[in-house]
Amino acid sequence: MTMIEAIRDAMDVMMARDEKVVVFGEDVGYFGGVFRCTAGLQQKYGRTRCFDTPISESGIVGTAIGMATYGLRPCVEIQFADYMYPAYDQIVSEAARLRYRSNGEFTCPLVIRMPTGGGIFGGQTHSQSPEALFTHVAGLKTVVPSNPYDAKGLLIAAIEDPDPVIFLEPKRLYNGPFDGHHDRPIIPWSKHELGDVPSGHFTLPLGKASVVRTGSAVTVLAYGTMVYVAQAAAAESGIDAEIIDLRTLIPLDLETIVASVRKTGRCVVVHEATLTSGYGAELAALVQESCFFHLEAPITRVTGWDTPYPHAQEWDYFPGPARVGRALVEAVEA
């Protein structure tokens, strides 16, 4: 199953189980979404459970909040994460705070899905990774799956969650794991064990990281596409890295992180978003606070540069295996 199919399957399973689950967004209904994540759902569940919306991200999220407080469980799509900004007020000022400010009179079980990340020559408006803009907001959960299996289990968990969940889908992983070697073909998910996704209902807990490679030399904290880049970097640099796929950024599985860093004594954080005030800053701050006396080298960050996402210079911008590999070597040699 591709990641697209896994995401669709999660919504399909939940729409079948719970008629409160509704799915909508731009081009999401008849056509099934520009990435086809919702293909077939309107045909199967009817036009009032899965439908096209006007091009208004604040309208999509705003109405979804209203629906959630009514008692539905909307799972809406923002066509690209780069287009979530018009909805940001609704997300931050409303979805995230309804439960708190009303002392639970009103709650907001809502999932907002959006494709993130670059690597598709999408330029500044089809490549962004705005996760840090969500992790700073109390009341939101933020999830970033890295494979079809996780995507399905986490998306079902997100839909069942009683609070708003931001579900970020690294679009470069939709069809197969991408390790940053853009000049090589990707293995499709059908040939990858994590593409083997059980049918029916299952969940993965929000807040549990996964150690995707055990190692002793350095801990790498990554999520989404960077999980594969880190794996490639470890293989190519020969550094025995322990690679943790965070899977959910909030709540964060700090325990797993701390256990690993205390073991390796070194830590490299990798993400595609711009460096400054990226989620890597929070990770570095937490790790140094929690593991200070175990650290043998400064925690470094390998990230997108502090520029808008460029079109032609995509592979200069993208933190690929060479850059990550260098950081691993430096961390170990420091």
Partner: protein, 410 residues
């Protein structure tokens, strides 16, 4: 073509500023009873003119006239009278309490009581309002506990919202009163979503959205109209035009259109204007719109023409930006006095009964206040705990918040 003249920027200004004498000659007010009452399934294009007139029922003599009259019994009218008087008394007491330092902030309804009080009566149990901070009449007229309201205003130990929210930002699901947002306009579109959810669920409940004249300029107003129009959501879209947005007169938000109701025309949404200081007219128009929504005929936009007699909030002093006597000159009068006159004309009320009712109501409000104060006020007596501050961010507290609570030592 000849050389064009230099351009210049047009910046609208109100007719009068402090020092000048109030002038509402630009407010065109039709006779009571003059505006027709169409069927609820009328073609919106056929009633465009309703967005430019004012539906009125009570005339100068205190009589209820025209096609929108005759919907409420004497008992109902008297009850409505009591609701408005209660809201006014409640406001007066809370304003004093704020001045006494018992809370940080308060916002009153003076002059606008008819709108939320009468509207509430048109709704059925289960319907949901998405109010702004100036519709507490929905709670008062709906029988919500005044003590609970005051506890919220005082952020005390019995505050239903645990001290987390600013005063007057009430929330009560049971009373069809959505948690008020301090952010303007955000909830207008949520009301549309709530109404869509009711339709998706094949329910019979409808929603009511509320916004001020100034806030119609916000983007979410547009989103609400777009979605309501496209999906024919069962929602009543209310605009309370009280002429002012803090210090900014309504001409700045309204721009070149004659009215705020006109905004609905571009969406094919039936759009009505009503005398917001006329309890009977407000009720009649609300009932019409609610019926449209309930019968799945889609949204209705209503502009209530009224005047904000008091300051914007306790942080505001309007004498800095508008003539002091402006509210006296307001041509639509005072909603309480107008209903009182009507009841007297009808022979079911008198100056004496009014005074008596006023005294009774004040007693009730004071009793509620005493009780509320026994649970504390903002800086004295019982109050929510620091633990309450950490609760309810999520249904279940995540580890990082547990750590923080521990660090805070609470």
């Amino acid at each position: 073509m000849s050389e064009p003249e230099p351009l210049s920027l047009h910046v609208p200004e109100p007719a009068v500023r402090p020092g000048g004498s109030p002038d509402f000659s630009n407010v065109k007010i039709p006779r009571a009873g003059a505006v027709p009452r169409p069927e609820v399934d009328v073609d919106p294009e056929a009633i465009r003119e309703l967005a430019f007139s004012i539906i009125r029922v009570l005339n100068r003599n205190g009589e209820a006239v025209g096609p929108w009259a005759g919907l409420l019994s004497d008992e109902e009218l008297i009850e409505g009278m009591r609701h408005m008087m209660t809201l006014r008394a409640f406001d007066a007491r809370m304003l004093i309490a704020q001045r006494q330092g018992k809370t940080s902030f308060y916002m009153q309804h003076l002059g606008e009581e008819a709108i939320s009080c009468a509207f509430r009566r048109a709704l059925s149990p289960g319907d949901m309002n998405f109010p702004t901070y100036r519709q507490a009449g929905l709670l008062i007229a709906g029988g919500y506990s005044m003590v609970d309201m005051m506890c919220q205003v005082y952020s005390n130990s019995r505050d239903p919202l645990k001290g987390r929210q600013l005063p007057v930002m009430y929330a009560s699901k049971e009373h069809g009163f959505f948690t008020i947002s301090g952010n303007l306009a955000t909830q207008y579109v949520q009301a549309v979503g709530w109404a869509m959810a009711s339709a998706i669920s094949k329910d019979t409940k409808i929603a009511a959205a509320w916004i001020g004249d100034g806030s119609t300029a916000e983007s979410d107003f547009h989103a609400a109209l777009v979605f309501a129009s496209t999906y024919k959501a069962p929602v009543v879209l209310n605009i309370v035009n009280n002429q002012w947005a803090i210090s900014t007169f309504q001409g700045i938000a309204r721009g070149g259109s004659g009215t705020f109701a006109a905004r609905g025309l571009g969406f094919g949404i039936p759009s009505l204007r009503v005398d917001g200081n006329d309890y009977l007219a407000v009720y009649a128009v609300a009932k019409w719109a609610v019926e449209r929504a309930r019968r799945n005929l889609g949204p209705t936009l209503i502009e209530y023409v009224t005047y904000r007699v008091g300051a914007h909030s306790t942080s505001d002093d309007p004498s800095a930006y508008r003539p002091k006597a402006e509210s006296d000159a307001w041509p639509l009068g005072d909603p309480v006095i107008r209903l009182k006159n009507h009841l007297i004309v009808k022979g079911v009320w008198s100056e004496e009964r009014h005074k008596q009712a006023e005294a009774e109501i004040l007693d009730t409000v004071i009793a509620a206040q005493k009780e509320a104060e026994s649970y504390g006020t903002l800086h004295a007596g019982g109050k929510p705990s620091a633990r309450d501050m950490f609760d309810g961010v999520y249904a279940e507290m995540p580890p990082h918040l547990r750590r923080q609570r521990q660090q805070a030592g609470v």
